[in-house]
């Protein structure tokens, strides 16, 4: 019997009383590469932020290896969307990667030789060793994405959440990320990847989570990534749910 790495139980998230995720419920076995797929506005980023406790839940709960997230932070690695930070910020690439070790260090302790060694190893893993001393604006988009990946690697996590790591990267970076994902899986890690490119889902992932405000389907790519399920995920907006959301936000009963 294999371990359950992540359990999401009846998760609902609302922005300004308007639900954006409804009753999402799934559990994931350790060691899987999971693609999170769905149209724009389907709540993919929201799902990850809700799991990480960055967005308040309207209802439901999340367990990492059977414990609440707050107690299991050390097991989590996070790659936010590249656009979420100011790349003009005065830090070097190595500084950014070192941030991955901050969670273990705790208050006021500075990263020491051990942390720097970890950072250098992670930089080498994503092929950025030669760029370690550069200010982060002086990287290409793909290199910036790899710097974020290296930071997550430096977290030395068990479960990784990556928000669109393949968005707007060059072919070399795409290949490097893919290789990294596979080596993480070989090391027994569980990785969730928000992904946009339907063409590559079969090739990249073991499991796929189809999302459009609710969980459309979740399971192995072979069983779940079907024409029918995709139609249900992408084919038209979910009019009934839309109306319900609209009604709730307007405080009117649905007609």
């Amino acid at each position: 019997m294999s371990n359950i790495a992540l359990e999401v139980h009846d998760l609902t998230v609302a922005y300004r009383r308007r639900p954006v995720l409804w009753n999402v419920d799934f559990q994931t076995t350790e060691g899987r590469l999971v693609g999170v797929v769905g149209p724009n506005g389907a709540g993919k980023t929201t799902l990850i932020k809700a799991i990480l406790g960055l967005t308040p839940l309207a209802s439901g709960h999340v367990e990492i290896y059977g414990q609440p997230y707050a107690q299991q932070r050390q097991l989590i690695g996070y790659v936010p969307q590249r656009e979420s930070v100011d790349w003009e910020f005065p830090v070097t690439v190595r500084d950014v990667v070192l941030m991955g070790t901050y969670g273990r260090l705790g208050w006021f302790r500075r990263p020491g030789a051990a942390e720097k060694a970890i950072a250098d190893r992670c930089l080498a893993q994503v092929g950025l060793t030669d760029f370690a001393g550069r200010q982060i604006r002086q990287l290409s988009g793909g290199q910036q994405q790899r710097a974020f990946l290296a930071r997550a690697l430096a977290q030395e996590a068990t479960i990784y959440f990556m928000d669109e790591p393949f968005a707007g990267v060059d072919a070399a970076t795409e290949a490097a990320i893919l290789e990294l994902l596979r080596s993480l899986r070989e090391a027994g890690k569980t990785v969730f990847v928000v992904h946009h490119d339907l063409q590559t889902v079969r090739e990249y992932f073991d499991e796929v989570l189809l999302l459009n405000m609710r969980l459309v389907a979740y399971g192995s790519v072979r069983e779940v990534f079907t024409q029918q399920n995709l139609q249900r995920t992408y084919g038209g907006r979910l009019t009934l749910l839309d109306q319900a959301a609209e009604a709730v936000s307007l405080r009117e009963p649905p007609t």
């Binding site: 932070r73 936010p80 979420s84 005065p90 830090v91 500084d95 941030m99 901050y102 969670g103 006021f108």
Partner: protein
């Protein structure tokens, strides 16, 4: 008679020194803590706190009945924090955006402050207490006790930032990642805001409600030109903040010191200019100098880099012209007349003369009368240039799908920056794809 003149002037100088010290302490503290607001794109927040503190100052005066600086500072702090709270409430509960809420609170609080100030002045006591000096600041506000207070504030800011440098850097750069690691970013945010409010409030009497926020902003904006490392940016911001503040109050106190500079500045800005504007203008000068003269990011450095690149491009063009004019009999290194060269080289004749002199100096060409020919070193050099140009052209045609007749212009920009290893790699790639024409294989440096 002379003694009589020097006496008060010396006295004024010693006061000016103390004022400059106090202002420097304030400037350094504001530069360091303001950097975190600027880097988080929250420059307006300090301005909001400063403006919002005016009604607090006035009400504290009304309640305390005197111009006790502690009471006024507490009033300012409370009103400033109330302003921060109002912004939080407005953005949380209405659809007003962050910047609109900040501007709104700033102007409403300031408006209320001015109304109360006018009331106080019309009822006698306020005018005598000189509360209106809170608008643009006043040098006399810096007494020994205030200098000590400023030193304590600077000490607190430096200790806090040094201790929590790692946490501040992370929370300022990537708040969500910090939260995913469990850092209490909201508390860190409030600590920074609190420190900004504290620095603002102790700076108010000197720099004034209207301009004190600038002391939070320009040091970081200027320091950012000099370094890409946060620790260095903070140190430079502290230095620039201190220099601007000390310099500003000195300029403002020159009229009181006397002497030729004093007379000149008295003539320029009146008998006693308020220190706030002088500090801000001094800061603006330092910011302007940083923009122009910073080593890597300064405008001057950029101009020099561009000029260097244009120079290299011009020289490469000349070498290529000479190479292509003599291409059929390269090995013999025949001569080319200057007029032939001028026809082929697309540039001004002055530029051509300058470049010719330069490459002759490099011993790349020999001149005899009207004719020019390569030396063997020059031919070698020109071969490298032409090879890079042609390989890059081929690469663009075959791999980037640029139509052949559009390539020349585009190739010109990048080929001058291609490192030799990359040219060799491109060549290998083209060769393995069978796309290297025979005439290119032959042009290798000798």
């Amino acid at each position: 008679m002379t003694m009589y003149m020097i006496g008060p002037s010396l006295f004024a100088i010693s006061i000016a020194g103390k004022v400059a010290l106090g202002a420097g302490l304030l400037g350094a503290a504001a530069g360091v803590i303001g950097s975190f607001a600027v880097l988080k794109r929250r420059s307006l927040v300090g301005d909001m706190i400063a403006h919002a503190s005016l009604p607090g100052v006035c009400l504290a005066f009304l309640i305390a009945g005197s111009r006790d600086s502690d009471a006024l500072a507490i009033g300012a702090l409370l009103a400033g924090m109330l302003g921060v709270g109002c912004v939080a409430v407005i953005t949380r509960w209405t659809r007003t955006k962050d910047d609109a809420a900040v501007s709104l609170v700033l102007s409403v609080f300031f408006g209320a402050g001015v109304v109360i100030l006018t009331y106080l002045q019309n009822h006698g006591t306020g005018g005598q207490a000189g509360l209106d000096s809170y608008l643009f600041g006043e040098i006399a506000s810096l007494q020994s006790r205030d200098v000590r207070r400023l030193a304590i504030v600077l000490g607190l800011v430096l200790i806090g930032v040094t201790l929590a440098f790692k946490e501040l850097r992370l929370a300022t750069f990537d708040e969500e990642f910090a939260r995913s690691q469990g850092w209490p970013t909201l508390a860190i945010d409030f600590a920074v805001l609190g420190a900004i409010a504290l620095v603002t409030v102790v700076g108010l009497p000197l720099c004034g409600v209207v301009l004190v926020a600038a002391m939070l902003i320009y040091p970081c904006a200027a320091a950012r030109c000099w370094s890409n490392k946060l620790a260095v940016v903070l140190v430079i911001a502290a230095v620039i903040g201190a220099l601007a503040a000390s310099g500003g109050v000195l300029l403002a106190s020159f009229p009181a010191i006397g002497g030729p500079i004093g007379e000149w500045s008295a003539w320029l800005v009146g008998s006693t200019p308020p220190p706030g504007p002088m500090i801000v203008l001094t800061g603006a000068v330092l910011f302007g100098l940083s923009l122009c003269f910073a080593p890597e990011q300064g405008l001057l450095a950029k101009l020099i880099r561009d000029a260097n690149l244009r120079h290299i491009i011009g020289r490469d063009h000349l070498l290529r012209s000479l190479y292509e004019l003599t291409e059929p009999q390269l090995a013999a290194r025949p001569g080319v007349t200057l007029s032939q060269l001028a026809d082929d080289f697309r540039g001004r004749s002055a530029q051509l003369r300058r470049l010719l002199a330069e490459i002759e100096n490099e011993k790349w060409i020999e001149r005899s009368g009207d004719s020019v020919r390569f030396t063997s070193a020059g031919l070698n050099r020109a071969t490298q240039v032409v090879r890079a140009h042609r390989i890059w052209e081929l690469y663009l045609v075959h791999y980037v799908d640029i139509p052949a007749d559009h390539v020349d212009g585009g190739a010109d920009d990048l080929e001058h920056l291609l490192p030799p290893e990359l040219v060799t790699r491109l060549e290998t790639e083209l060769a393995t794809a069978g796309r290297l024409p025979p005439n290119l294989k032959s042009i290798h440096p000798l």
